[in-house]
């Protein structure tokens, strides 16, 4: 029961966005995906979620190739994601934002609303239920987006820069939420972040992309000790090796 990219390549015309990328996420595991801008991180998420067809290689879910499936089928099969900009439906209230997903997954309206309420409560944001999604504070918007992704009980959750623009305290709160999702729900998380410190503190396994290729993979110590990573991030702030 693993979600994996197997030797995946993606080309846009002549531009190779990904080359032979292999990575795997197991249930309850947090895997980090880092790399400089344009390294291909979001493309990985798009391939994993069916929004981008790989040019070569396979996407595997529990050993089955799902590379050709439409996005909503992959979502139904249990792979959910959040987006960089939150992308809530601003014309709907918070509960309907979640209920909409439940309904899309085949729940009845009433069931979807029940599940949505329960999830919001689990994340400690039950008070937001009837608020319009437009104009939510930044951190609340992120939490609602995560709650929405958890509708239907996915087995995997891909988080695309969930901490972007957050302060250290806010990012720490978010880290606690992600840890709970992995531990209490057994959901395998793929965490894409620019905040390398956050990724290293959460992830048991980190994959580093640069120019569409995997340049390093391993635990915190491996990443911090890697010369290749240091070069890719030259000029960026990489935490000092402990």
């Amino acid at each position: 029961m693993v979600l994996a990219l197997d030797q995946v390549g993606v080309a846009f015309g002549g531009f190779r966005a990904l080359s032979e990328v292999t990575l795997a996420v197991a249930p309850g595991q947090i895997v980090g995906l880092i790399g400089p801008n344009g390294a291909g991180k979001t493309t990985c998420v798009n391939v994993l979620t069916g929004f981008q067809r790989p040019t070569s290689g396979r996407v595997l879910l529990a050993g089955r190739a799902v590379s050709g499936l439409a996005a909503h089928r992959i979502r139904r099969a249990g792979v959910a994601r959040t987006f960089q900009a939150g992308r809530l439906f601003t014309g709907l209230d918070v509960l309907d934002n979640l209920a909409c997903t439940g309904v899309g997954l085949g729940l009845r309206r009433r069931e979807a609303e029940h599940q949505a309420s329960a999830l919001l409560a689990w994340l400690g944001i039950a008070t937001l239920e009837s608020r319009p999604a437009a104009g939510l504070p930044y951190t609340d918007e992120r939490r609602v987006a995560i709650a929405r992704a958890l509708m239907g009980g996915p087995r995997f959750l891909l988080l695309d820069e969930p901490a972007a623009g957050m302060s250290e305290t806010e990012a720490a709160d978010l880290a606690a939420v992600i840890r709970r999702i992995a531990l209490e729900r057994g959901i395998g998380c793929l965490l894409i972040e620019h905040n390398v410190g956050l990724v290293l503190s959460l992830a048991s396994d980190v994959v580093v992309l640069d120019g569409g290729r995997v340049i390093e993979r391993g635990d915190r110590a491996v990443i911090l000790g890697s010369q290749a990573v240091r070069e890719a991030y030259l000029g960026a702030n990489l935490p000092e090796a402990a």
Binding site: A70, F89, G91, C100, G104
Partner: protein
């Protein structure tokens, strides 16, 4: 304002609102300005009569009693729209909005010519529900029964549609898809179901407009969808492309202003009624180019 004028304004505005809704529904879910909507209306009109080139129309389906006829014609409209979606717009699903629009023009021309082949080009007299013309006295006004029925039907349709969009599963999916289609798909909302649903609804609304037009004017004309399509399109633009409530409000507004101008302008200025109306539209768009109720979803996305 006289009561009579109020009823005129409501009936005319209501029809424009229903036509505008038909366009806004489809624009909402797939950013397609469906210029064939007018021909959907015309096809629903001609579905009432038997094909022939004679000037006097012979009712075919139109002979059915109203409780059967209305659902049948609504299904014809819905079926036509569904077929258009499956045969024309589905293969163009990922095309640009401009390509889609050109495609809808082509479909419109094809449908119009199909009608010309089957029915000839001359307008036909058609007598549907002739009994509904007799006036009813309400206070100081004498209102044709048909007008009351039209107003009641429009209220029922608008309330029903609002409930459908608010309460039902497909309604929630449509509202989400109208705002951010890619996102809705990603979240598990199947694209085909939502788009087919929108087309079916839009087609039935076109059929409603067709029935009202025929009952009011007693004429079946191959070109009859064009004029109302134009006004309805203007209403969707003024209302804010993709905003359903905006389309309804603007449709009602344009119809009402049109009726008021007709009654209020000095007789020598009346032929220029539409010029006044469109000048008002231009003024609105100068101050709110995004329309009165631009939906949040049309803002730039990341």
């Amino acid at each position: 304002m006289s009561l009579q004028l109020l009823f005129d304004a409501l009936a005319l505005g209501g029809i424009h609102a229903i036509a505008a809704l038909g366009i806004a529904l489809i624009f909402g879910v797939m950013r397609l300005v469906n210029f064939a909507h007018g021909q959907f209306i015309a096809c629903a009109v001609f579905a009432l009569i038997l094909p022939s080139a004679d000037a006097l129309a012979v009712l075919g389906l139109g002979r059915l009693p109203a409780p059967v006829l209305v659902p049948v014609i609504l299904s014809v409209g819905a079926g036509l729209a569904l077929a258009a979606e499956a045969l024309v717009f589905r293969p163009m699903r990922n095309a640009s909005p401009v390509t889609l629009m050109v495609g809808s023009f082509a479909l419109g021309v094809a449908l119009q010519n199909l009608l010309l082949v089957l029915y000839g080009g001359r307008p036909k007299a058609i007598s549907l529900w002739a009994g509904l013309g007799h006036p009813v006295r309400i206070g100081s006004a004498e209102v044709p029964l048909l007008q009351l029925i039209v107003i009641a039907a429009i209220i029922v349709i608008l309330v029903g549609l609002a409930l459908l969009l608010r309460r039902s599963r497909i309604g929630l999916e449509m509202r989400a898809a109208a705002e951010d289609f890619g996102m809705a798909r990603m979240l598990g909302v199947p694209a085909n179901r939502v788009i087919s649903g929108a087309f079916a609804l839009s087609g039935s609304l076109a059929a409603v407009v067709a029935l009202v037009l025929v009952a009011q004017t007693g004429i079946a004309d191959v070109r009859m969808g064009g004029q109302i399509m134009l006004v309805a399109f203007i209403a969707t633009v003024v209302g804010g492309m993709g905003s359903l409530s905006g389309a309804v409000v603007a449709g009602l507004g344009i119809g009402a202003v049109s009726a008021l101008l007709q009654a209020g302008l000095p007789p020598e200025a009346r032929p220029f009624r539409d010029a006044f109306l469109y000048a008002a539209v231009i003024l609105v768009l100068l101050f709110r180019p995004q329309g009165l109720f631009a939906p949040v979803g049309t803002r730039t996305r990341v």
